[in-house]
């Protein structure tokens, strides 16, 4: 993103000539080079979604194997060591490689479309973020497939993670992989924040922005603040293991609790980071099917941010059983209970929107509406564990496993599945099959509740987490069998979704630009969108640019007449609060630099894990060279002055 020049952009209307010019400017190359060099947010967004969904499938397969092991007592499908790696890798995969990246994928694809602009603020950084995410996923899975997956839970507590107790390469793969992934998350977060602040369509002031902006923006501000904590924790752990430092080693006056503090200062805000954008899917899409605006929009936006603010002050509730002083814990207990307030505001807003609307029951609607039920169940069990004495009873039991799955599946996966049904037509131009969709929904909904509702009881009956098997006389046999059956029902539902996607991609009904009669800007352009998104930069006058006539609003957004910006690969820069036109931004061309930089990073980290100094040096050289190429000032972008006037 660079300031292009000081000229005044021309106003105009759409014409075939304009569309042709823009197509020429924005269409990327094909073939392998085009694949590796694209910076188009739509392609990057789709790659994020496909990659994250692949990790969801891998994590799901891991879960199914664990459920086979736990379906009955004294099973021997897995050894204790294999089980340790499997549940740790399952957690790592679902939380780090699926739950957050899938939301980045949707936001990458959708943000420029809902904000009325032509790309993210830093398209090359966007590509870099994806490539590093992919590299870290491959890095972590190479560890797992070579028997060196994480084996100490996704939270990876010391001292078990230290070298004395964990001498293999498992923790080294996990530590370095997480540092690598942290780089991706951090650069991605910076990109989202600048995009939100500087590239909204003129007139889209913060009170007219779709909820997806609030959800993703809040999550990414949090990521920028907390990801460094966990990257640091993993780096210190790697130093302890490889260089004999003693950050966490209690025998040398290190602090094991330092790990937990650093991890959960990151970990709990991260939980909100992986649900707030998904909740925003519901807040934006549910009203479309209710045929009325979201009830209490300002309060829902405010609650989104308030949830995250409170989320910064609750991390110690993961540490209630570590022997911290009661007075200190009381602050965090109170904050963990208080977080119910903003969450409830959102829930009641959704309920009121359905109540006052005229709901059209589609598959997407069912996924969004069921989120409300699952959110309440997950919220109530979370409220219970926010109380210190209750937490002491429930911690490390299956009750907590049930709670976290209601939160993460209920408020992440269900909204994501709804979002797939809702935005698939925009991405592909075709609607998903509704009949298959109903089967898909009911199988996943019933399977999920069959699997995880009884799990609360399993925990209350005393079954601890992370055990690879159990005796036949513990009273847990039937409940575990029901959970295992439920997990396979979910799997059938997910397979049906894949069938639906493949079938509908090929022969689904044509969607047109706005199949749902929705109100936000992405539905004003063709499906799938052209490479330049908007031929004219729209000017927004309300929160519902496409519903202004229906809602009898006095104002009208300008969608047919707007800024053409066809003198180069350009978009409009606007002011942070009111989105007033500010400058013309020159957007970068495609480049392989982010991909090559990622190769350099991957080489560097491979050298670090194998302790091959030559490989590290080669990686550092590739990394430096690609940075130089990327950042070298160019005259055409006005990054340096011409030599002669």
């Amino acid at each position: 993103m660079n300031r292009a020049d000081d000229r005044a952009p021309a106003l105009g209307t759409v014409s075939p000539g304009l569309e042709h010019r823009l197509h020429e400017l924005w269409e990327g190359e094909g073939g392998l080079k085009g694949f590796l060099s694209t910076v188009d947010h739509k392609k990057i967004g789709l790659r994020y979604i496909v990659t994250a969904f692949t990790f969801l499938l891998l994590g799901g397969i891991e879960a199914l194997i664990m459920r086979l092991q736990l379906a009955g007592p004294n099973a021997h499908l897995l050894s204790p060591e294999q089980y340790d790696q499997l549940f740790s890798t399952h957690g790592m995969t679902m939380i780090f490689l699926y739950a957050s990246p899938i939301l980045s994928g949707f936001s990458n694809y959708l943000w420029p479309l809902i904000l009325g602009t032509r790309d993210m603020a830093f398209p090359r950084v966007n590509a870099l973020s994806y490539w590093i995410y992919l590299a870290s996923g491959i890095f972590l899975y190479v560890g797992f497939l070579t028997g060196n997956g994480p084996n100490d839970g996704w939270f990876n507590y010391v001292p078990y993670a230290l070298r004395d107790f964990n001498p293999g390469m498992n923790q080294d793969f996990y530590s370095l992989g997480m540092v690598l992934l942290g780089t991706s998350t951090t650069v991605g977060a910076a990109n989202f924040i600048v995009t939100a602040m500087r590239t909204r369509a003129p007139g889209m002031s913060i009170n007219r922005a779709p909820m997806l902006l609030w959800g993703t923006l809040t999550a990414n501000v949090a990521n920028l603040l907390v990801v460094p904590a966990v990257s640091l924790a993993f780096f210190l752990l790697w130093l302890d293991r490889q260089f004999g430092t003693h950050f966490f080693d209690v025998r040398a006056e290190g602090q094991p609790l330092l790990w937990q503090h650093l991890f959960w200062i990151f970990g709990h805000p991260w939980v909100y980071a992986i649900v707030l954008p998904a909740m925003a899917f519901v807040s934006d899409a549910l009203p479309v099917f209710c045929r009325r605006p979201l009830v209490g929009y300002p309060l829902v936006a405010l609650s989104t941010v308030a949830t995250m603010v409170l989320g910064f002050g609750v991390w110690v509730h993961h540490m209630f059983a570590t022997g911290l002083p009661a007075l200190g814990m009381s602050f965090f207990s109170a904050a963990s209970i208080a977080i119910v307030v903003p969450s409830s505001v959102t829930i009641f807003s959704w309920l009121a929107t359905i109540w006052h609307g005229r709901p059209v029951v589609t598959t997407a609607f069912m996924f969004f509406a069921s989120t409300i039920i699952l959110f309440v169940i997950g919220g109530v069990s979370g409220f219970m564990t926010a109380s210190v004495p209750v937490d002491w009873q429930l911690t490390d039991t299956y009750f907590v496993v049930a709670h976290l799955h209601y939160v993460l599946i209920g408020i992440n996966l269900f909204p994501v599945l709804g979002a797939i049904y809702f935005w698939f037509p925009k991405m592909t131009g075709r609607l998903l099959d509704e009949r298959l969709g109903r089967w898909n929904f009911w199988l996943i909904f019933i399977g999920f509740n069959l699997a995880f509702l009884p799990m609360h009881l399993t925990g209350l009956f005393g079954m601890p987490r992370r055990v690879y098997t159990y005796g036949p006389d513990m009273g847990w046999n039937t409940l575990n069998l029901i959970t295992s059956v439920g997990s396979f029902v979910i799997a059938i539902g997910v397979v049906l979704l894949l069938v639906n996607v493949v079938k509908s991609r090929r022969s689904g009904a044509l969607a047109g630009p706005n199949p749902w009669g929705a109100h936000t800007l992405e539905w004003s352009i063709p499906s799938p969108p052209p490479p330049y998104n908007f031929a004219l930069i729209p000017a927004v006058a309300s929160r519902h640019p496409l519903w202004e006539a229906e809602l009898h609003e006095e104002v009208r957004s300008s969608l047919d007449r707007g800024l053409m910006l066809d003198k180069g690969k350009e978009t409009l820069g606007t002011t942070p609060l009111d989105a007033l036109p500010d400058m013309i931004l020159r957007m970068p061309e495609d480049t392989v630099a982010p991909f090559v930089l990622t190769l350099g990073l991957a080489l560097l980290f491979t050298g670090m894990i194998l302790k091959v100094w030559l490989l590290m040096l080669a990686g550092a050289l590739v990394l430096t060279a690609s940075l130089l190429v990327w950042l070298w000032p160019r005259r055409e972008l006005r990054e340096r002055e011409p030599a002669h006037g």
């Binding site: 952009p9 106003l11 009170n207 965090f332 929160r543 500010d582």
Partner: protein, 149 residues
């Protein structure tokens, strides 16, 4: 580009923007949550250190660290005051901007029209909410023995 731009917005989002200084608005929105967060972090440290320094537990606060208790109460009072000051600023901003768009206050809660009063409303609710939350932190100080746990 500003001076020459041909695009003028038909419906400016913040016609009363001049009524609210950016510094005031930032204070109204941020001060309450920040005060609460400072109390949570510093409060935990001040409450824990006299009884649980390092890996040892003591039934009574260590000699020489008795100052932490009045410091904690003073910090709490300061944080409540800051949040309350933010509430007053937010209330004034809201009063100055509540007529930014035609319509009743309920219209603001439902639709959020008028960017300046939208932000003033946020300041009002945040500062009030976090003022109460900070004040409630007094309860455990009074109810719990200092070195319990």
């Amino acid at each position: 580009m500003n001076a020459e731009a041909p695009l003028s917005l038909s419906h400016p989002p913040a016609p009363r923007a001049e009524c609210a200084g950016r510094g005031q608005m930032a204070f109204a929105i941020i001060a309450g949550p920040l005060a609460w967060f400072v109390l949570v972090c510093a409060g935990q440290a001040l409450a824990s250190q006299p009884c649980f320094p390092g890996g040892h537990r003591y039934p009574q606060p260590l000699p020489g660290l008795h100052w932490t208790w009045p410091a904690l109460i003073a910090l709490l009072a300061l944080c409540v005051l800051v949040a309350f000051a933010a509430l007053i600023v937010a209330w004034r901003l809201y009063q100055a901007t509540r007529t930014e768009e035609a319509g009743r206050d309920s219209g603001l809660l439902d639709e959020g029209v008028g960017r300046t009063r939208f932000m003033a409303l946020w300041g009002l609710l945040y500062s009030a909410g976090f003022c109460v939350a900070t004040l409630f932190s007094l309860a455990p100080y009074l109810a719990l023995p200092r070195c319990a746990g």
